[in-house]
Amino acid sequence: MNTSQPRARWSDKLAQGCRSIRIAFLGLAALGLQYTKTSLLIAIALSFLVSLVADRINPYWLYISYDIAISIIMAVSLNLINGYTGQFSLGHAGFMAVGGYAAAMITNQFGHLNFFAADGIFAVALLAGGLAAAATGLLVGLPTLRLRGDYLAIVTLGFGEIIRVIFQNMNSVGGARGLSVAHGWTNFFWSFGLVAVTVYVVASLVNSTYGCGFIAVHDDEIAAEAMGINTTKYKVTAFVIGAFFAGIAGGLYAHAKQFLTPGGFGFMQSITFVVMVILGGMGNTIGVILAAILLTLLPEGLRYLAGIEHVPGIAQAFPLGWIGDTRMIIYSLLLIVLMLTRPQGLFRLRKRKT
């Protein structure tokens, strides 16, 4: 009597979870390994269709799916900078903050206007957020990308912190109290449609003849320079495009959480995205997408386990409550184990069209 109730709920939730994951993977499968325009359109259409039946999906899982989409956009765009171009950036959350705050300011100001449909204003706000982040990327990138390796990492880390502190002290966006976002416009269509666009743009960019330059800069900067490749231009380009999509992800984040605090864009956030890129295998888009999904679900999954006091059916002999208390420790340990067993990433090297 006591155990049958939680058991039903447990299996229910599990089935629901599996369904949502399956939906996410369907979108991925549509993208396939080739990033053609058709698969881009199919993925966008799929995310639109899913958004039509979104009210039937458990809101918790829907919410997690937005988190997954945001993580994928962040990781794939960071992969262009860290993975393909080999520039170690530790400030990606800073660009996300710029995009998030910019988009939120716009929808808070103009969201109530009825000139266009809400989606129109949202699109403009997301784009503006992306552009604001891209402009910041250009501003930061031009002077700093002459640096290499560790030095660049330190400078970008500093930049991320500066952004956070600036928002913390800007009273017009609420400072440390945070900014509430009036409209929760992020939905399945926008989040996964933009995942498709990001993956398509980054993948077709690095697979183009022009895009080989990014990999050339990564492989050997001196040789690339000796070939007449303007390496600074390539690095800045990667930085600006990466920042643009991070800004878009920031906009999605703002309108999913409906609340922004500067603390949400700290150093640890940036590290999480870097871990996704490394775990996915630097310069492997599919790997990075899977790592982003995994690392977003992992803490949620552990949180979920924490809700169970003991294994259903078996009485108090095997208490599981401790999982909740040590959730983040388990998460960190799993990361260490993954890094030890797959230091080259879940997938090795990039998949290349021949």
């Binding site: 040789a223 000796a226 090297l349």
Partner: protein, 235 residues
């Protein structure tokens, strides 16, 4: 074709080149020999713009090029094969070669150059779609030279093409260098530790010792020079 006057280059406070002067005539092969740390690689890197000189002038076809960024210098027809076969390990052989033609806009010319490189190094044609990092040392060196040829240079700088290669491969590489020089009229500045072979194929040579030119002349007379023989030719 290339004149260097009193070139000085420093790494921080440490001087690498203390005012060297040399000239390379159009259509010739000139070799720069010297032991480790003499400044051979520094000289090439400065010519191709990877390093900025502290003082002195570099004239190419009568125009000063010292201090220009590398891509400007490549545009003028100077191409540099860096030491240690710096190929792009994650790109395919073909993509590596295409990167060499990065500054050429005309796809017809790129295709033509590609055919020329494949004709010069048939091995590269066989490996066209292979990821360059999986090539053998000799193949990587061929790729590095082929990549430099893709930019249609008039002046080619080779930094130790024989480094770490099997003797048979060294022979092949040197034969190709002579062939490229003869058939294309390409001027070549060759840096080598393998002084014997380098002096065999070159027209004239310079001996570089701790940042200074200590000897120069035509290759035949350098080979007879007792100082060169004892220091670099193992005689």
């Amino acid at each position: 074709m290339l004149q260097i006057k009193n070139l000085e280059v420093t790494y921080g406070a440490i001087g690498a080149l203390h005012g060297i002067s040399l000239s390379v005539a159009a259509g010739s092969i000139v070799t720069l020999i010297g032991s480790n740390g003499a400044g051979k690689t520094t000289t090439l890197k400065t010519i191709s713009g990877l390093l900025k000189p502290k003082a002195g002038a570099i004239g190419y076809e009568g125009k000063p090029i010292a201090g220009l960024p590398p891509h400007e210098i490549v545009k003028r027809g100077l191409s540099h094969v860096p030491e240690g076969r710096m190929i792009f390990a994650n790109l395919t052989v073909r993509e590596n070669l295409e990167m060499g033609a990065y500054l050429l806009r005309d796809q017809k010319i790129v295709r033509h150059e590609l055919d020329f490189v494949f004709a010069t190094f048939p091995r590269l044609k066989e490996r066209e779609k292979q990821i360059a990092g999986t090539l053998s040392g000799g193949e990587q060196q061929m790729l590095a030279i082929g990549r430099a040829l893709m930019s249609r240079p008039k002046f080619l700088m080779l930094d130790e093409p024989s480094l770490g290669l099997a003797p048979l491969l060294v022979k092949t590489i040197f034969e190709r260098i002579v062939e490229i020089n003869r058939e294309r009229g390409l001027t070549i500045l060759l840096v080598e530790q393998n002084a014997n072979r380098a002096l065999e194929i070159s027209h004239s040579g310079y001996v570089l010792e701790t940042g200074k030119i200590t000897l120069h002349g035509d290759s035949a007379s350098l080979r007879q020079n007792p100082r060169v023989q004892s220091a670099y030719l193992g005689g």
